[in-house]
């Protein structure tokens, strides 16, 4: 009974002469004070299940005893209301409550814990908590692993020092010291309260002593330890738990269809090997089932378990619970494949380094034939124009000879991959188209199927910045990922990538649209790589359009123009071709005077060189000042049949527009009238400069798209026509960024703004020129009325007789002298869109895309493909998901939102993809576990059919919690299945199971037959007993205090952990 008031004095006086152990004691006390473990209010015992599910907290501090370092750790179960109350209450008690009597009235935390049966076998807890049932304790562990407290005297010294510290400080929290080797987990402890002490002792043996191998023996040991015998000894209460392990799952062997890994070159490789991501675990992710049968709180008189007899039949245990041992790291295919692919991001080599060696070898083999090497560079793997498949095969075979054996992928495999990526390549165009249709159909169906299970699937493409499901890029990413794993890693990936690039190059060169890429301008909601492919497609599309236009003039005899052309005399025939070439955008300068038919490919090659020039060669009018040789020729021959020529030109160009026929009809009329009107209205135009006006006045209308509703030209009174205009250039996001950056760099000054406007006026200029071409005699006002109607302010409308005269004026801002609109209008000449400078240079852009792709290094390619691959993987997960699994649903939701932020992030980061992949494989594991458990706990094993929902619930809770109570115990639906599983395993292990008689009924009969011979359950692999009693110690007249002993008996451990309390007053 140390008075707390003396503490201060003691410390001060002893300060100078303090020995090592006194300093240790002082330090322990100090820490206890620091942690406020002094004079605490007793806590109520924890509620049921709190030890396993509650929050445990830890606090650590280092201290040393002489040169021996300890780590002192306070571990406690967080009280629900701890946060708000504890601190204030505790401080008060520490200051005011010095009377022991008050404390003595309440039962100390330790005693309550020892008696509480709420948390007898926590599923997850610190071992001290498990063995002694404590909710709060302090441990003292040697810091350095090698150092141990192993001799009796050292243990005694340490424990007595601790005892002194505890009683000095008035701390009633038990303190444990770890003794012997660390792995032995041996603890010895003490707890000192006013008027009582508790000793915690522990014994651990490797083998179970014969006499203690059952409850009777253990009870004897417990009683003898308590050490006294009175006549009316209160009974000992026993809680028992037996654990049975099930390892053989007889009824449900794990079946996982392995992916088709037949990568042998000779054998036929199924396309499935690179079309789909694999999914699932290779091994059964569920390894063991631990069944715990618990008999809570039996009086020692009720049950007997001795060497010869036992009352403890698991089927009669009132409480069953199950713990499922999952494989720590089951080999999950999807996760593994993704992980391996991601690893490629960390490779630093270039493609040259990766596949360079291969190419060198290739060349040395066939150095003599340079032409072939060149051919290899330019030639695609798949020839398109070949109508029959047979002829393709011969070529493939020829190529096969060149291919060295060192390449990771044989030509056959490579061809298959290319056909898989570009399905239209495998057959003639017609077949390809059909197949394409089929495929889009099936693709749609597939998508619908995958849409069904999870609501997220529909939104997924919107959330993720990737590529559409089923698109070329989607296939490519899946294919490369699989190939990386199944073939020789980066080498094979490189080979496919190179082939892919060659294919793209070929498609551009020979104008084949890339299939399974969404048409139209790059969709900025998709990943960059996809945008690039869209861009390439745009280029190819434009190129095809150009070429078609060209062909229309030169070749086709069935052209509708032929009749018109026949009218033209022989001398103009040659000229006709030159005109037609003029009509073709941008190719005018390269007119091949030698003959009417120019090679389209040749013309195309000139394309890029002439891109920066304007061509206005058709300005046949006398007023044209600059006359190059081209228009000279033109003019001469045009004299006779000008109108016909125009008609030819016009209608040919506007083949595509719907209003063509209407247009050309009207044209004739317009032409006539414009000629009359033009001169009379000449003076009326004020804003346009004279020269430009003259241009627009006298030329013939060109490039009309459609008449514009009701609008008439202001000065001529003619119908206003909407011109055919150039479409704006499509841009990918990186181009946009670049463009925006350039614009932003111009700064915010007025000059900058002006420059910016000028840079962007190309489109305006183009539109103005088209407008002028389509509407001879038009003025800026007319243009504004079409282009920016709100800048045309209508004045009063005066109704005069028949005609209504519209009067109005330009808005103030349009009338500012020298503003950009006026300026551009003045420079604009009447040129139809088809003869303007191309706003979008497909040749240049296509080359840029191809260059971009070919300059990507392995790591870049992988990183660019990752969003698409992640998308594919998530869809794969969703395909396999189980909707009734809340755990998985949460996981998927998190996965989707995470994937959305990662793929959208402007800076693509490998690490965040790593996290994503881990999430995906986690989901995969959960799904695999779920599948495994479902197959094990199938309702077919059950006689009752109504139990299915109960089983579902059971499986779900196993996935969520570590230990799950079996509802209804052995009689419940889950319980009876577990019983069957065990007995089947028992039977199998006790006899050679006839594999053939696998039928359920057979089994049942056999089971009936052998039931008597073999027990349904194996020997329990672990047994635990908790013995409790309340008796006075050490003397009969002492206060009765709780005593407890926890016994663990399993194969290689026999452990007794006892807490023995004794009265320290009445000894």
């Amino acid at each position: 009974m140390a008075a707390d008031d003396d503490g201060d004095v003691f410390e001060i006086t002893d300060f100078t002469t303090a020995s090592e152990w006194e300093r240790f004691i002082a330090r322990v006390e100090e820490i206890l004070h620091e942690w406020k473990l002094v004079n605490c209010e007793p806590k109520p015992p924890a509620k049921k299940g709190d030890y396993a599910n509650g929050v445990w907290k830890e606090k650590s501090e280092e201290l040393s005893f002489a040169d021996f370092k300890f780590c002192m750790t306070h571990i406690w179960l967080k009280q629900p209301q701890e946060d708000d109350r504890k601190t204030s209450v505790e401080r008060e008690t520490a200051e005011n409550e010095t009377e022991e009597e008050e404390q003595a009235d309440k039962t100390a935390t330790v005693f309550l814990d020892l008696q509480s049966m709420n948390n007898d076998f926590p599923s997850r807890a610190h071992c001290i908590c498990r063995w002694f049932g404590l909710q709060e304790f302090v441990t003292l562990m040697p810091v350095v692993n090698e150092e141990t407290i192993d001799t009796e005297s050292r243990i005694k010294l340490l424990m007595s020092s601790v005892s002194i510290a505890l009683s000095n400080a008035g701390c009633s929290v038990p303190v444990f010291a770890q003794i012997q080797q660390r792995w032995q987990k041996l603890y010895i402890g003490t707890c000192i309260m006013p008027g009582a002490t508790v000793e915690f002792k522990m014994v651990s043996l490797k083998k179970i002593p014969y006499q203690y191998n059952h409850l009777t023996g253990l009870l004897d040991a417990f009683k003898s330890k308590l050490g006294y015998a009175v006549e009316r000894r209160p009974p000992v209460f026993v809680t028992v738990r037996f654990m049975y392990v099930l390892q053989d799952w007889i009824n449900s062997p794990w079946t996982q269809s392995l992916p088709d890994l037949s990568s042998s070159f000779d054998e036929e490789v199924g396309c499935s090997s690179f079309e789909q991501l694999p999914f699932g675990a290779c091994d059964d992710p569920v390894t063991q089932l631990h069944l715990s049968c618990t008999w809570p709180c039996l009086s020692e008189e009720i049950i007997v378990e001795s060497q010869f007899y036992t009352d403890l039949n698991p089927l009669q245990a009132p409480h069953w619970s199950v713990r499922v041992q999952m494989a720590d790291d089951p080999q999950c295919l999807l996760g593994e494949y993704l992980e391996a692919f991601l690893q490629l991001c960390k490779r630093k080599e270039s493609w040259d380094q990766v596949i360079g060696n291969l190419q060198v070898e290739e060349e040395t083999e066939k150095t003599s034939d340079i032409s072939q090497a060149l051919q290899k560079l330019t030639e695609p793997s798949v020839p398109y124009n070949l109508p029959a498949f047979g002829s393709y095969m011969t070529q493939a075979a020829a190529r096969h000879d060149i291919t060295p054996k060192h390449l990771p992928l044989s030509q056959d495999v490579l061809n298959q991959i290319i056909f898989f990526l570009f399905p239209d390549a495998s057959k003639a165009a017609k077949v390809a188209k059909e197949r394409d249709e089929e495929e889009t159909k099936s693709g749609k169906e597939e998508q619908e199927i995958t849409t069904a299970p999870h609501g997220n699937v529909k939104e997924l493409p919107k959330q993720l910045k990737s590529a559409p499901f089923g698109s070329l890029l989607h296939r490519l990413s899946v294919c490369l990922c699989v190939i990386n794993e199944n073939y020789s890693g980066l080498h094979a990936v490189g080979q496919v990538w190179q082939e892919f690039l060659l294919e793209l190059r070929y498609r551009w060169d020979y104008s084949y649209i890339i299939y399974e890429i969404e048409r139209g301008p790059p969709n900025l909601g998709t990943c960059l790589l996809y945008q690039k492919l869209q861009m390439l497609n745009c280029c190819i599309e434009r190129k095809i359009k150009r070429e078609q236009l060209h062909k229309g003039y030169t070749g086709e005899p069935d052209s509708p123009l032929s009749s018109l052309r026949d009218k033209i005399t022989g001398s103009t025939a040659a000229h006709n071709s030159s005109i037609s070439q003029l009509g073709d955008k941008g190719e005018v300068k390269t007119v091949d005077s030698s003959g009417p038919k120019t090679n389209p490919k040749k013309a195309q090659s000139f394309d890029s060189s002439s891109e920066d020039e304007f061509f206005e060669c058709e300005e046949e009018n006398d007023t044209v000042k600059e006359k190059d040789s081209q228009s000279e020729i033109e003019k001469e021959s045009l004299e006779q049949s000008e109108t016909e020529m125009e008609a030819v030109d016009e209608s040919a160009i506007e083949n595509e527009t719907a209003d063509q026929s209407v247009d050309s009809e009207k044209e004739e009329k317009v032409k006539g009238s414009s000629a009359i009107n033009s001169k009379t209205e000449d003076d009326a135009v004020s804003l346009t400069s004279e020269s430009s006006f003259k241009d627009s006045l006298t030329h013939n209308p060109e490039g009309r798209l459609a008449p514009h509703g009701e609008l008439k030209l202001l000065y001529t009174g003619e119908q206003m026509y909407i011109p055919v205009t150039q479409e704006p250039a499509p841009m990918t996001e990186d181009m946009l960024d670049e463009h925006a950056e350039v614009l932003a760099k111009l700064g915010t000054s007025t000059e900058g703004a002006q420059l910016r406007a000028r840079m962007q006026s190309a489109c305006l200029l183009s539109d103005m020129e088209s407008f002028k071409a389509a509407n001879p005699g038009c003025a800026l006002e007319d243009f504004v009325r079409w282009y920016s109607p709100r800048d045309w302010i209508e004045d009063e409308v005066e109704g005069e007789d028949v005609q209504t005269v519209i009067k109005g004026h330009l808005s103030q801002r349009m009338e500012i002298p020298g503003n950009m609109w006026v300026e551009v209008w003045q420079t604009a000449r009447p040129v139809p869109a088809r003869r303007q400078k191309r706003l979008f240079d497909d040749t240049k852009e296509a080359e840029k895309v191809l260059h971009f792709l070919s300059s990507l290094q392995p790591a870049d390619v992988v990183l660019h493909l990752l969003p698409v691959l992640i998308h594919a993987a998530i869809l794969k997960v969703m395909e396999n998901e189980d909707q009734e699994l809340p755990v998985l649903q949460q996981l998927l939701d998190k996965l989707c939102s995470k994937a959305s932020t990662v793929t959208r992030s402007p800076a693509q980061d490998v690490r965040s993809y790593d996290e994503l992949i881990r999430m995906i494989s986690h989901a995969e594991i959960v799904i695999a576990r779920n599948q495994s458990l479902r197959s094990k706990f199938t309702a077919s094993l059950l006689d009752r059919t109504d139990a299915e929902s109960e089983l579902r619930h059971f499986v779900n809770s196993i996935l969520k919690n570590s230990e799950v109570p079996v509802r209804g115990g052995p009689q419940g639906p889950a319980g009876s299945i577990i019983h069957k599983l065990f007995s089947a395993a028992q039977k199998a292990s006790n006899m050679a199971l006839d594999e053939d008689s696998a039928q359920e009924k057979e089994k049942d009969r056999e089971f009936q037959k052998y039931e008597q011979t073999f027990p349904d359950f194996p020997r329990p692999s672990a047994r635990e007993y908790i013995l409790r009693t309340v008796i006075p110690r050490p003397a009969p007249y002492s206060k009765p205090l709780p005593q407890r002993m926890h016994c663990v008996l399993c194969d290689n451990d026999f452990r007794l952990a006892g807490a023995f309390s004794s009265d320290s007053v009445f000894q």
């Binding site: 932003a744 703004a753 920016s788 808005s811 609109w821 986690h922």
Partner: protein, 204 residues
């Protein structure tokens, strides 16, 4: 977060029919001037201003777009990555108000962030011939979950306030402007890895 340094750069976009005063609004906000001779924007224009809202400095990169129909095929590309959008109409023009739906549609289609903050601004309230009432504007804004204010670039009214409000809202919207700072990953890792704890019967 420090009060002085710029917390983030925000991309703000101004859209709306031609001639409703988008450029004037911007000019009023950035330079605090009004130019009656503001020319019609060609393509897009760009201005920068630093603004302090709630002690957070934000650098605004404001993109002013042309309202003409024909430019619309071009300008949506600049919608990319915008965190805030100011949709302007002219209170003296019913027609400019009626076109708002079309603008919102376009915004839906082209903006890359789905939680972009939208603000509706009814401009030119200094003028007499009002054709769109404040109630109409409010109704529209409510229907489409937008911020709403009426303003006059000429008299200054409401302009500063509009931009500030928008920026504040953007900053308050989680995940909209902080690009990748939050790690927020809790899921991975098997249960119970904390040292010293053992499960079930693994007694040793």
């Amino acid at each position: 977060m420090s009060d002085h340094s710029v917390l983030t750069t925000l991309k703000i976009l101004i859209i709306g029919e031609s001639g409703v005063g988008k450029s004037s609004l911007l000019l009023r906000f950035t330079d605090d001037t009004f130019d009656p001779e503001q020319t019609a924007t060609i393509g897009v224009d760009f201005k920068v201003k630093t603004l302090t809202v709630d002690g957070n400095g934000a650098k605004l990169a404001i993109w002013d777009t042309a309202g003409q129909e024909r430019f619309r095929t071009l300008t949506p590309s600049y919608y990319r990555g915008a965190q805030g959008v100011i949709l302007v109409y002219d209170v003296t023009s019913r027609q400019s108000f009626n076109k708002l739906d079309a603008w919102l549609n376009e915004l839906e289609t082209f903006s890359t962030k789905h939680d972009v903050v939208k603000m509706l601004v009814g401009n030119k309230i200094d003028m007499d011939k009002r054709e769109v009432s404040k109630e109409d504007g409010l109704k529209f804004a409510r229907k489409h979950q937008m911020l709403f204010i009426e303003s006059s670039a000429k008299t200054k009214e409401g302009v500063q306030c509009a931009f500030e409000e928008l920026v504040e809202k953007v900053i308050q919207t989680p995940g909209l402007w902080e690009t990748d700072k939050q790690g927020g990953m809790t899921l991975i890792g098997s249960r119970g890895s904390s040292q010293g704890y053992c499960g079930g019967y693994c007694v040793i």
